[in-house]
Symmetry: C2
Subunit: 210 residues, 2 copies
Amino acid sequence: MTNIIDALHWRYATKTYDLTKKLDSTQVDMLIESVRLSPASFGLSTYKLIHVKNTETREKLKAAAWGQTQISDASDFLVFAAKTNLGEADINEFINDVSETRNVPVESLTGYADMIKGSVGSRSSEENIVWAAKQAYIGLGILLTAAALEKIDATPMEGFDSAQFDEILGLSALNLKSIVVVAIGYRSENDTYSSLAKVRQSKQNLMIEK
Amino acid sequence: MTNIIDALHWRYATKTYDLTKKLDSTQVDMLIESVRLSPASFGLSTYKLIHVKNTETREKLKAAAWGQTQISDASDFLVFAAKTNLGEADINEFINDVSETRNVPVESLTGYADMIKGSVGSRSSEENIVWAAKQAYIGLGILLTAAALEKIDATPMEGFDSAQFDEILGLSALNLKSIVVVAIGYRSENDTYSSLAKVRQSKQNLMIEK
């Protein structure tokens, strides 16, 4: 397997995908699993991942994202969506999961549950959506790494109309809001972006020692 | 090298660190490099990484984070801090980097520069800090993956007083704001949390197909 630093050098935000090359379900499942296992604050589930399989829907989403072809042309397309009504029900469900998974009584988890409820309850809905979005970005970072390690190309994208995406995917009715999206598949041989040198700040510029 | 899914199963938010086991500089440099190479919107640098080496400073930070011992006891401690004055100067510096790295004239990048300036300029300072924070969380996700692949333990933490951290680290004067922190090192053999089963929602719960 590729070293992670090599993999991060290898990857780039793919611009043009090879229409003929598709990921198999094992590959897509591995990427989904990497998101599912991603760390999250408290371990709480604050977002969902939408796998958009319908071709027409992907065309509509492309139109709501300045026509970026990755949305329709990549093998697969995923949308991270934050829960907009995060609250006691989610926390109780999570605590039940903890109880079952670890085989401990729910009553023994009351202190933990109250701490999470206090934290989530101290923020407005808008603030909790930002918080959920940050957790989703951890998952995105991990998915991009998992993809690069397996030489799967990916394009993370923020440039889309979130309200239109929510409308097209019917997310509002599910109490979800689209946050960030990612196309995955294989680069086209004609993608000139693949040969551009990666631009990153120097270590000296990134780091501060205290 | 470990498979990424195995690595994500192996990792957990380490509670108690082994005080006697330290990372060597090669390991820390690899983790920093994984953050440096992390994808970011436009490729723009929107955050810095503070490596807190001073023992007294780490004690003060611990006190500003409900006494969580990982801050003082882990081998190393890192703070992701968002730029609070993101603007034209950062974008011009980035464009100069692109010009030098890719050996193209700055003038040929005017359209790209204007697009980034338009995007950053369309948001308030507060909104740009949230945006920078999201980019930092991609870096955090990648650092956590890089660590797990190398069997380095890590604890991502949001539970700290950001204003106090900024004060202790002198970040405001640098136009920075602490966003999220991570302790890295080796778990103590006595950390009972290491044997707890990981709790994650099911794939069915995470995924929606459209």
